[in-house]
Symmetry: D2
Subunit: 286 residues, 4 copies
């Protein structure tokens, strides 16, 4: 793609934990004339895997850097990613009718606070087109009336991911359940947001249930989408305190604020390669 | 019991919501020469009930105040409680082996931060006797080896509640399940603490489960004990943020801190008549 | 103005604390056929004043209610306000160049989360006109080039407050200092937001100062504007945790998020008559 | 001192930032047969210095490890510390009359949550001796009646630091100001706790001042002691929300809770070599 004139590089890597990894990777960086400016690592006792995220300042071009890193990656059987710091991640946003999450994402993007570019918003409802227009982001409407409609929607989604070089799919309160096939194809790169409570509630109208039970905290959880609905690896969670006097409707408004900020945070961490998967858990290098 | 020379009174009342309650109760207070210094109320749309907590400054004695309040209570079919502000509530603490909650309760009591007196700690294990001794609180040990042991423990508990004029039973990490009979007899005056997670986990070793799932928040919930284990009305909840790097053991320590402060807060609110029951919910006049 | 068909009324009152206030006001409400649905009060030990906010359900019209309340207000020398629950407060927003607070206010308003109507945004810079246009809110530009310009701006502001029946002026990161005369005229109805730190920092570029000092928390304070810059009565405060690794620029972004949500919260509480002044303090009936 | 059978080592280092540091240090670790299990680093743009904290699993003894690290430390002019993970830090606690911070430290220590050993509590008042006795920690009383008394106290303090191999001095609400000489001698190893507010208040009775000003948040700051009172590098900060109804006395209790937990957190991070100094800032590898 032709990297910008930036001299800040970002490396993430995952491999089986063993002695010498840091030495080997830092050796490759030294050989490429680089200086490590930020580095985080984690050895998982659960899976025996080693995770690392390194930022490097270097005048070197990508080809040289790749050439130095390749033997190390090969030797340790690493999944290694090399990227430019600050590069906007190509993000497809799925929306439906409720605008709070989409609005928050678009505002933060326009304010330079979200490291994404959004070539398209795909929605099954027309309501949020005006919001997309204001932010000058293309909006495509594919209504879903039945199971066939959903199949077509998913087919279009997977097509767009290819066509538009999409790296991340964000469900900004998109309320449909995806097929196993779609979940698998987009595993580790599709993020959902949903409300969270202590204790958790299943089924319809959770804010009414939370109210009936008199919960004192409500919140939101951003997670990767997997086949098990709402059970994917957790990326970020937030809660706020609520009193007995809050109506179900007020709980909903409060919960939506938490959803917006939690989703935007998760998206930004993903875009900065700060979210790595360790089985059913995430490692967050925040 | 002979009230102290205090001239600060506390009234809580619950009745069916209807016009004129506040006027009637404030009229009785005016007639008794009282001035309202603090007042909170709540009308529940869920149950149609009205809840009120009033603090009154007055030179009047209890008999006079009761005489003025009685006709109002009768007319509106109120559950009405009259108490002296700051009176320590007679509290029986049940403990087992783990000391963090008991220690926090006893320290706060000694520091004048907890409005209770504790005539006895009842435990099924000897480990916390030394802690009780330091704080000069009597400690009674009743080991529980089998179901019969539990029956005897519960029988002794209910006996002590009578003998010692106990108003509140606190389960400071007491890990046994009570019979329906005990739960009913102590309904609305027995408080438990348990860990809480987003999402919730059932079964053994929740901190290990929370770790496996990579939760980002862990917390604690203080609630009244009912027959449905851990499903009683919620009094207070807290959470703290945790990272992927925390081991199950570290999660346990962090969770215990939350348990301690959440339980102490719930006990103090109860002692100050700030916790009122509305079906399965609590009204907290904090 | 002709109240809507609503039967929910809101009363706030302030007077010298003395026995019988609650009884008298609740008596007037009963006589007007009203039922109290929400009530909060506070007796200030600092100033000896009594504060109350009452919500009333009643079929009665305004004239009748006023007739019943007037003798009570007169007897206790109350400042008494009668309003309809949910009535949008007429709000003039002042803006300059930075859009985060304005954007948050306009989004929440459009989402039905902010109980205001905004007849005009007044700005000394043109940058935020596009944002105003999207939300279909009129935008007036009065550039300020020198002291004369500021005098004209303030004169126009005070004129608009009259013309447009403005009840609240919100400084959404409007960075100019007002004259004593303007502060006095708008005392108790002009809200400002500014960043806050532990410890506090004076002077230019506070985020750089906070960074140099390695603060672990940064936040925002919403307050009424008084002549003493940033020393007016505090309405709301929030903070978030930051690490040593955050740059001054990142601190700025984080701080702006806090400013947005803190200002919006303060505006909403004001609109709902939940903010009462007690000398240099605010009473918040939240 | 003879290290325990542990095979977990801890290295912290500070030096001028330059390429090759991580490679060199990880090389030394590899040569010593070690595996890095945890690593954090930070390059300060403010001072141009590089900070690193590494945990290493290794069967190697201290001598071998030191021999491998020494040339690297010398080449990069590092301040390098090698320690055993989990070794309790020798801590002298200074106390006066108020017990909340001391009690919290001693409880957490006894519960295995604080990585310190406390050979002595030194106090200028006798009140907390009983608390020390319960926890079986020696207690020495040196009353301070005048400036001479303070000079003797400081002289004894510096003597004890030598005699008892003290690594950390904790001021658990010790309310005296130290001389420049003492501050210099204990620079970077004496931690104080003090209350914090938004905005900050100087002078006597801060809780009364905070009350008068109607602050909505109160908190605590743990910091290293320097000559500029309360201006030393910040280690940790916490705040909690308070309402207008809290009396100055209630604010004090709430503030004390924050002080206790903030100080204990700071002490634990210090004991785990997670607090590094960067001029007037701290780097916290938490």
């Amino acid at each position: 793609m032709g990297d910008p004139a930036s001299t800040h590089w970002l490396i993430t890597l995952v491999c089986v934990d063993q002695p010498g990894i840091v030495h080997a990777i830092s050796g490759a960086i030294v050989e490429a004339g680089g200086n490590i400016t930020e580095s985080q690592q984690f050895a998982s006792l659960d899976t025996g895997r080693f995770f690392m995220r390194v930022q490097v300042e270097s005048q070197t071009d990508r080809k040289t850097l790749e050439a130095k890193l390749a033997p190390v990656a090969s030797r340790f059987k690493m999944q290694l990613i090399l990227d430019v710091v600050g590069r906007p991640v190509r993000t497809l946003v799925l929306a439906s009718r409720v605008g709070h999450c989409l609005s928050d994402l678009l505002y933060r993007k326009s304010a330079g606070q979200l490291q994404v570019e959004i070539p398209l918003i795909l929605s099954n409802h027309p309501q949020l087109k005006e919001l997309a227009d204001f932010h000058k982001v293309p909006f495509e409407l594919i209504p879903i009336r039945d199971d066939d409609g959903m199949t077509q929607f998913e087919s279009r989604l997977l097509g767009l991911v290819e066509e538009l070089d999409i790296e991340l799919v964000v469900l900004a309160r998109f309320m449909r359940i995806f097929s196993s096939k779609t979940c698998e194809k987009l595993a580790g790169r599709m993020i959902n947001i949903h409300h969270s409570f202590l204790p958790g509630f299943k089924g319809a109208n959770p804010y009414r249930q939370a109210h009936s039970r008199g919960v004192k905290l409500i919140g939101a959880t951003a997670h990767f989408v997997t086949e098990d609905l709402d059970e994917g690896p957790i990326i970020e969670q937030n809660v706020v305190r609520v009193s007995h006097a809050r109506s179900p409707e007020e709980l909903r408004v409060i919960g939506q604020n938490e959803e917006s900020r939690t989703l935007s945070q998760a998206v930004n961490w993903f875009a900065q390669h700060r979210v790595l998967l360790d089985g059913k858990r995430t490692i967050i290098f925040s």
